[in-house]
Symmetry: C2
Subunit: 354 residues, 2 copies
Amino acid sequence: MKKHIVLLPGDGIGKEVINSAKDVLSAIAEEYNLTFSFETHEIGGAAIDLYGTPLPDTTLEACKQADAVLLGAVGGPKWDQNPSHLRPERGLLGIRKALDLYANLRPIKGFKNLLHSSPLKEEVVSGSDLLIVRELTGGLYFGTPSERRENGQIVVDTLYYSRKEIERIVDKAFQAARQRRGHLTSVDKANVLESSKLWREIVEEKKAQYPDVVVEHVLVDAAAMKLITNPSQFDVIVTENMFGDILSDEASVLTGSLGMLPSASLREDGVGLYEPVHGSAPDIAGKGVANPVAMILSAALMLRYSFQLDQEAKVIEDAVEAVLDSGFHTADLQVAGGRRVGTFEMTKLIVDYI
Amino acid sequence: MKKHIVLLPGDGIGKEVINSAKDVLSAIAEEYNLTFSFETHEIGGAAIDLYGTPLPDTTLEACKQADAVLLGAVGGPKWDQNPSHLRPERGLLGIRKALDLYANLRPIKGFKNLLHSSPLKEEVVSGSDLLIVRELTGGLYFGTPSERRENGQIVVDTLYYSRKEIERIVDKAFQAARQRRGHLTSVDKANVLESSKLWREIVEEKKAQYPDVVVEHVLVDAAAMKLITNPSQFDVIVTENMFGDILSDEASVLTGSLGMLPSASLREDGVGLYEPVHGSAPDIAGKGVANPVAMILSAALMLRYSFQLDQEAKVIEDAVEAVLDSGFHTADLQVAGGRRVGTFEMTKLIVDYI
Ligand SMILES: CC(C)[C@H](C(=O)O)[C@@H](O)C(=O)O
Ligand SMILES: CC(C)[C@H](C(=O)O)[C@@H](O)C(=O)O
């Protein structure tokens, strides 16, 4: 198998952890007789500095030709005061939309020996293993009009969805639930929003096609509570773009291992962009101390979702778990009696295990 | 001082806890030589059953004439399948809008001997004392168009704000911060939404008028994380309607005492509607076991915000604290070595203390 992968390091620690993913993928390629070719491009702040735009055409074209894209992280204080169209996150939003990466999957699962650093009590969080399926290319993020009116006296944004956009993400979530524990929680605000009412209707319509999946509807405010009071009740959560942004970040801190969480953003045909949930962490960038695990696990998701290499993905995931179980950890984590290592050493430990 | 108060019991345990508030207010009136007159009206499911609408004209007219309104709770499974305009929460949304109750204040503070039932570790949650100021009559909740198009193939909701609507809620929050610890966190999604950009600009403009308040901007996804990882970093949080709905419910479970949390919804002139944060709890309705504290503390907020009776409000709050400190609690709470009491007995204990 030959696959062409575009690497987008982006900004901050993105530039460091992307190399970890490449090293791990090279080890997998060697071990399992696969061919991965890599091509690196700029995005975000780095692209603004070099080309005056957060998403240069060359970057976008390369991504369109690729079998999959790995992204480090974008953003940093340097560009925070820029006008909207010159902000690093525009690059990220632009590529999601241009590649039609409508399905954002964020698996959240605790690591046994990290659970102690969760803000939640261990008995509350233990056993949590959930997947948030967030719609990523619609809703308030891309709806128009999004503008000021009457000389800035009025402002509007538009929460826009087509039935098709809702149907495809709901299907994705049902399929994911079927492959997991068969439980789907659809989150909306159907007591207020017309878009949520249509969302709920579509979930109800689709139910018949997935008789093996148990479906539940939860209002977004209630979901924000339940994630904290009883996170282990969830299997798959599906929701629209903005609710998904909030709830997936909320969920990401539950297990005390934000530096370990990967994400996948998929198109219908399986092409995908894979990135850590954490940001560019400008405060620790360039010091060689960043935790590469979220990036490495994102590469594992790429193998699973874009290349159907489920076994190879599992090898990476097992390697990460084994290295953590041996007590090795990066500076963002505390492991009693553990040994603190840098980005490079952590990567090497995982590569060696593979 | 003479004040006229409209009581809206609503549904479920609302009907029980509203009496507790009335009893406590009567005790305060007697003790401090005040005159409170009461008038009861229907809202929500109860109003649908009696009058075929969740917000009858007589109810609305009475509220318009009142100095303040106390509301129990609305909703229940009986009306869950009703069409939108016949759902209990429409009554609540309708009255907020009709009375222009744009400022929703939700103070969240842990009770010492309840903190142990927080889902968070005690060292994470202890010391938390925050106030969420939520814009309540704008944004996605009331913006138009909110409709289906092209035969249900498209759906839109509109996040609409006028500059004035943002200015008045931001002012309210600055004033609240000034009376508390002088710290204001404005929550938005300025990296995506045009409305958030205007929101952030207005907060920046207003800063000059409140030089004694320290202001910070946090993105809504980051705020959802920080509320869990470090809730005690917040003093006052101000945000738009939908973000406020999600974050205030998220915050309400942090201290382990949802049954204790009051809220105030205010108009510019001080008229207000006061209601518990919890819902109508149909599962325990009619059994005399509901926790009346959130409702009683809502009455205290009424004294403070609508009647400027700060001292009398404090008397109620102290009474609640003292009764809890003596180990009395309702069935929703666990207090080691405490004594479990019903709604009526809990109310009597608080009244007796006053
Ligand atoms: C950077 C930002 C625009 C982005 C989003 O809101 O989608 C981020 O928060 C995310 O969740 O990937
Ligand atoms: C009942 C519902 C419409 C309401 C809201 O979303 O505002 C409730 O959740 C609240 O927070 O008071």
